[in-house]
């Protein structure tokens, strides 16, 4: 295939532009280098603030239903999404009371926090919530939820689960995006209305769902760009 003509649009970046950009990177280096404790300090500052709450839906599909509807399951990365018009809650639903754990203990419990937190957001009550599923084997199905609040600007939540579950979504506007070029993630807007049991695309929240290092991670918040930046800053 002779495709030489396709390269004809290529050109070198303007020299002033690349020099200017290089200088900005040098400045970035200088700002980052002498402050090894900056990230911890920022988090510590964040932990000292107060908050509100967010609602998220993360649902395990019933295995039998999953088998029936397998052809409607879309897989993005290692995360499965079931596109459905039916509300995912079942009669066997049980309520799980979460345990509040100080956010400082998140890392030792395997809950990795994002290095990037949008300006003005703080961890709710300096703690995260841990949901233990009593009859799960080896802790599979347990999940943790961290919420960052910014009064007047909505909340951002992150749910981390040890086992990848299928997300039931009622929208076909599921978009696949790439995080740091390493992980595929699903992004969609809206959520289930638990009163009408219908999918509501007007709910002003986005969800970003992906599997990283064997953990299923779900970010929810009003601004998809913030969610992407937070997800990309999740470092082990």
């Amino acid at each position: 295939m002779n495709d030489n003509f396709m390269y004809s649009l290529r050109q070198h970046p303007n020299k002033n532009f690349s020099t200017h950009l290089k200088n900005r990177l040098e400045e970035l280096n200088q700002r980052q280098a002498p402050k090894p404790g900056l990230r911890r300090a920022r988090l510590a500052f964040g932990f000292s603030m107060v908050l509100v709450l967010v609602v998220i839906s993360m649902v395990l599909a019933v295995p039998s239903a999953r088998a029936k509807l397998q052809d409607l399951v879309i897989t993005i990365g290692d995360q499965g999404f079931l596109i459905s018009k039916e509300h995912p809650l079942t009669d066997q639903e049980t309520t799980i009371q979460p345990v509040a754990i100080p956010i400082e203990q998140a890392a030792e419990n395997g809950v990795i926090l994002p290095a990037y937190i949008p300006e003005g957001f703080d961890v709710e009550q300096d703690q995260y919530l841990f949901y233990r599923v009593e009859d799960s084997s080896e802790g599979k199905g347990d999940w943790a939820e961290v919420t960052w609040v910014n009064p007047g600007n909505g909340n951002i939540a992150m749910i981390v689960s040890d086992s990848a579950s299928i997300m039931v979504v009622g929208t076909e506007t599921l978009e696949e995006i790439s995080l740091n070029g390493m992980y595929a993630a699903g992004l969609y807007k809206g959520g289930w209305n638990n009163d009408s049991f219908a999918w509501d695309p007007t709910i002003p929240f986005y969800s970003l769902v992906f599997v990283k290092d064997g953990k299923s991670i779900n970010f929810t918040g009003p601004d998809p760009q913030q969610l992407i930046l937070m997800a990309e800053s999740l470092n082990p």
């Binding site: 003509f5 649009l9 290529r10 970046p13 696949e176 790439s178 740091n180 070029g181 390493m182 992407i228």
Partner: protein, 178 residues
């Protein structure tokens, strides 16, 4: 100008990466990726800056066992472009703006100049996925395998779609020249 893709010198498992060298070798490819996507030099510069600064700030988070440097950088670039589209989609048209023609351009250069404008316009009229493939291949200089990993499709699918797209562009260019 054909791409030399200096980043292929890096092994995915290399621990001590020379980020200055990565910057020098990545910037032209990044810039050209955005140039192929937007057809506008100024926007390409802005989006390249955003991508480079974001990658630079997060370089400690890069994991060489999961992705090559170029896959990582272009993953960020694609997100930056997606954000740009979200912000500007409703205001932009698919047409690429006309460049102003230099009156001093001789006949030979003018032919080349017009061919470039035509190619730019034809690329801008391609479906979104084909535009992305063309930008990653001819702008970013990635090979089919790297593109396949980035887009989560098979390498053969990349090759087939690119071949079909390039052929269709070539035919349209030839028709216009006749």
């Amino acid at each position: 100008m054909k791409n030399t893709n200096a980043l292929t010198f890096f092994s995915p498992l290399q621990k001590n990466l020379d980020w200055d060298f990565i910057y020098q070798s990545t910037l032209p490819n990044l810039y050209n990726y955005f140039l192929y996507r937007t057809g506008n030099e100024k926007i390409a510069e802005d989006l390249s800056s955003t991508t480079v600064e974001r990658a630079w700030s997060n370089k400690l988070g890069y994991r060489s066992d999961l992705a090559s440097v170029q896959s990582w950088v272009f993953g960020i670039a694609r997100n930056v472009f997606r954000e740009y589209l979200r912000e500007h989609r409703r205001y932009t048209s698919k047409l690429v703006p006309l460049e102003t023609e230099d009156s001093q351009t001789d006949l030979f250069d003018r032919d080349k100049f017009e061919a470039k404008i035509l190619l730019k316009r034809l690329i801008a009229m391609l479906p979104e996925k084909e535009q992305e493939l063309v930008a990653l291949k001819y702008g970013a200089g990635l090979n089919n395998r790297e593109i396949a990993q980035l887009l989560h499709i098979s390498e053969s699918n990349v090759g087939t779609r690119l071949c079909r797209t390039v052929e269709s562009l070539r035919k349209k260019m030839e028709v216009d020249n006749e």
